[in-house]
């Protein structure tokens, strides 16, 4: 039945970025008044698909139909005009403008350039009433509403264009349980008004509650679709993760020793709610969980980039208490950022400077740097890790992602660190560099160093780590030896399901 009344239908959508095939033939349809959950692991192709739907990208191949007519959005604005609106995970509000101004932004009620205040108020009020939130104070600046209320404002803005399809990307990731309930009520109203809602979420329990149907993406393909009432949690998880694990992970023999780092009930603002762990020498400790579950926040708290609100981080053998990143380096803790461009590297500076930034004074005396010695040191790592660059003096921004990552990693090796905090160490790099980094991590453990690896890629966690802890909504929920984990098990804990 749904196929004949489809509001939006996609068939055979393909999209490549360079050599990467992000989408390899995705099909999908949604009826008016249907809530359709789109499910998949990080990197399965959900965001690319949504960007194509909302007009930010164009598909390489495939067809899209909206209400029976070909649908080819030129831009996000065009998509909105045609009836497809998107609510991003990161909300897009002008925080200094009032709720009313935000709702009408770009579509003001005006005559000859003058805002018609009465009409503006009326339209904004009507949009909110449609959502059951007519009591919202329209005059208050958007920045002074809670995240949940801001979300309502953004949905109200989308409603002004009378959308046929509303896409919501991880709408509950920063909502409390009570606000999630209110959001579900709002979605219920939209459904009753005939709007098709595409609901993207990692939280499978929520999807099961709110959605009528589901589609699962994996590696850029549709691997399953059906009625939600027929689907079990296990079935969905199997669809998401069912893949063969390639043997990329050479296991170097290593034994774990004494505890070198202890985290006791650490809490940091805004996301880390509670985490405790013990890290041993020669141990590779994996941190799994969804994006935004607080894994990066935990590493930042350990490294003192974010201050602790409560709890304790203790490097064994060092004074406890407040520390700075500078102290952590001095204690032999090194941090590899997940964001090379914004945080990890100085793109305008040389490979050598990037590699030696934590301890430049060792390359000379009296505050002067012996450039030749510094470059020679960097060159040794360039050779050893087979970094492709002209020489150590080349600006690092000119290197490929994989080579940049090797230099960023070498910074920790050169320092040298004994506790390695690695945040998504293989993100966005080629397979060759990946294998090399796995080998490096294995060698470190064999040499008695302690390593924490954050990864969103489950085979990587299971292939590489001795111990795996899974985080969900800011809490480190479960820590177990690798042998006690499966991909489905990690996914279940990460998505907030019971064990």
């Amino acid at each position: 039945m749904t196929t004949t009344t489809a509001s939006l239908r996609l068939a055979g959508i393909r999209k490549s970025f360079g050599a990467t095939h992000a989408l390899r033939g995705v099909s999908f349809d949604i009826a008016p008044g249907e809530v359709h959950a789109l499910i998949g692991e990080n990197g399965a192709g959900k965001s690319t698909l949504m960007k194509i739907l909302s007009g930010a990208h164009r598909a390489d191949a495939g067809t899209m139909e909206l209400a029976g007519r070909p649908y080819l959005p030129e831009s996000p604005h065009d998509a909105r005009l045609k009836g497809v609106a998107m609510i991003y995970q990161e909300l897009n509000l002008a925080l200094h403008l009032s709720a009313q101004e935000n709702i009408l932004l770009g579509d003001e009620s005006a005559r000859g350039g003058w805002i018609n205040r009465a009409a503006s108020h009326e339209r904004a009020r009507a949009a909110l009433a449609q959502l059951g939130h007519e009591s919202l104070d329209l005059g208050r600046p958007a920045g002074r509403f809670s995240i949940a209320e801001q979300q309502v404002i953004e949905i109200a803005r989308a409603l002004l264009k009378q959308p046929k399809i509303l896409i919501m990307d991880e709408p509950t990731s920063s909502l409390t349980q009570a606000d999630t309930e209110k959001l579900f009520a709002t979605i219920g109203r939209l459904r009753a008004q005939g709007v098709g809602v595409i609901y993207i979420s990692h939280f499978l329990e929520e999807c099961r509650r709110i959605a009528d149907r589901y589609t699962v993406l994996k590696d850029g393909e549709t691997v399953g679709t059906g009625e939600m009432k027929d689907a079990t949690l296990d079935h969905l998880v199997t669809l998401m993760t069912g893949r063969e694990v390639k043997d990329l992970y050479p296991r170097t023999a290593h034994a774990t020793g004494a505890v070198v780092l202890e985290v006791k009930a650490a809490v940091s603002a805004p996301r880390l709610k509670r985490a405790s762990l013990q890290l041993r020498a020669g141990e590779i400790f994996g941190l799994g969980g969804l994006i935004g579950a607080g894994r990066t926040d935990l590493l930042r708290a350990i490294f003192s980039l974010d201050g602790l609100v409560a709890g304790e981080v203790c490097v064994v053998g060092e004074a406890a208490g407040r520390a700075t990143p500078r102290d952590r380096w001095a204690q032999g803790v090194g941090f590899l950022s997940e964001d090379r461009k914004e945080e990890g590297l100085m793109l305008t500076q040389s490979v050598a400077d990037n590699l030696t930034l934590t301890k430049q004074d060792r390359f000379g005396r009296l505050g002067f740097i012996n450039g030749r010695r510094q470059r020679a040191t960097a060159q040794r790592w360039v050779d050893e890790l087979r970094v492709k660059c002209r020489d150590a003096a080349q600006p690092i921004g000119e290197l490929s992602g994989g080579n940049q990552q090797k230099v960023a990693f070498a910074r920790l090796l050169e320092h040298p660190a004994k506790i390695f905090l690695l945040d998504e160490p293989t993100r966005g790099i080629d397979v060759g560099s990946k294998a090399q980094i796995y080998q490096l991590i294995g060698d470190l453990a064999a040499a008695g160093k302690a390593v924490v690896v954050v990864s969103s890629y489950l085979p990587e966690l299971l292939g590489l780590c001795d111990t795996i802890g899974v985080m969900c909504r800011g809490e480190l929920v479960t820590v177990r030896p690798r042998a006690a984990w499966t991909e489905a098990g990690i996914m279940r804990v990460a998505t907030g399901g019971a064990e």
Binding site: F303, L305, T324, P325, R326, D327, R328, W329, A330, F335, S337, E342, E343, G344, L345, M346, L347, T348, Q349, D353, N354, L357, T358, Q360, D361, G364, G367, F368, I369, G371, P395, G397, R411
Partner: protein, 335 residues
């Protein structure tokens, strides 16, 4: 433009610009000037170099600040402030050496104040130094009772008819070694070499670049970013204070509380023309010195062409915009 050609243009831009402008005036001035004067004369170049001194010393400090990703608008006021302080001290018969030190220290103190607000309290450099621009200018006028501070005073002249401070001669008398250029010019050369060494060869210098290139990375790598920024603004302030000293000698014994108003804009322009990027992480002392020189050549050249003052301003404004366009090209290349 093809990539290699563009690269040469971008990298050597300021230098080519300078050569181009000098060549233009060398050909055009003899053709146009009613006096039939030559542009490439010793006298002209001495004038150009001497005129560059204030902007050049200011540009040394400003290069450090801009490379670190900051900005300082209070330079003109700082120069006036220390020149008035210097004049006051000399009026009270303080030794020249002490007066020089006091001027440097006065500038450093203002820099430290800026640094505390910017690094310590994490306020925006543009706004903080816009504030100090006014505070320091006002303080200077107050200290000088709203009029020029003349030294020696009438009383000093009567008591010691042969009263003389060497400061008066530093922008005029030919230099002690070869009788070719004033002390001020040689001071710039020495300070430029020292600052260039500091930026390129020391740990502190690398850290300045690191903060300007990516402050997050600097923090992640354990650099004491607050302390480094304090040092940058303080050191730059000391240089601005010394520029005030040459302002004092340029006016032959007068500390003028209204002097050097707006000079910070010339200084920032020189640094940007010299290839530094306002987004930080990029810049050289050599480039900034060429930039400072370019501004002075433009001024002297347009005068020699007997073009009216207003055209000078239009031309210099155009040069700044062209330089900023090169800055954009450079950033385009990196991203």
């Amino acid at each position: 433009m093809k990539a290699p050609l563009r690269k040469i243009f971008v990298k050597g831009g300021p230098f080519f610009g300078l050569i181009l402008v000098v060549a233009f005036f060398a050909i055009a001035v003899p053709l146009v000037s009613k006096g039939g004067g030559d542009f490439l004369t010793y006298h002209n170049f001495k004038m150009i170099f001497t005129q560059t001194v204030l902007v050049a010393i200011g540009a040394l400090g400003m290069t450090m600040i801009i490379v670190s990703g900051g900005i300082d608008l209070s330079v003109g006021s700082t120069i006036a402030f220390t020149s008035v302080i210097g004049a006051r001290l000399l009026q009270h018969d303080w030794p020249t050496g002490v007066a020089v030190l006091a001027m440097g220290a006065g500038g450093a103190l203002i820099g430290l104040f800026n640094g505390v607000l910017i690094a310590g309290l994490r306020m925006v450099p543009f706004i903080v130094t816009l504030g100090t621009l006014l505070i320091v200018r006002g303080t200077t006028k107050w200290l000088a009772n709203n009029q020029a501070v003349n030294y020696p005073t009438q009383a000093q002249m009567e008591a010691h008819p042969d009263w003389h401070s060497p400061i008066i001669d530093w922008m005029t008398t030919d230099d002690p070694f070869s009788k070719a250029l004033p002390v001020g010019v040689w001071t710039v050369v020495v300070l430029a070499v020292l600052t260039a060494l500091l930026l390129r060869r020391t740990v502190f210098g690398r850290h300045i670049f690191a903060i300007g290139s990516n402050e997050q990375t600097a923090r992640l790598c354990g650099l004491p970013t607050v302390r480094i920024k304090l040092m940058i603004y303080t050191l730059a302030g000391a240089l601005f204070g010394l520029a005030g000293m040459f302002q004092l000698s340029r006016l032959h014994g007068q500390g003028d509380p209204t002097a050097a108003a707006g000079l910070e804009l010339d200084i920032i322009a020189a640094v940007i023309v010299g290839g530094a990027s306002l987004s930080g992480g990029v810049g050289t002392i050599l480039g900034s010195m060429i930039g400072a020189l370019l501004m002075a050549v433009l001024r002297t050249g347009t005068q020699a062409m007997e073009w009216p003052n207003e055209f000078q301003e239009i031309i210099i404004g155009t040069v700044i915009i062209v330089a900023v366009y090169f800055d954009r090209l450079r950033q385009g290349r990196e991203s």
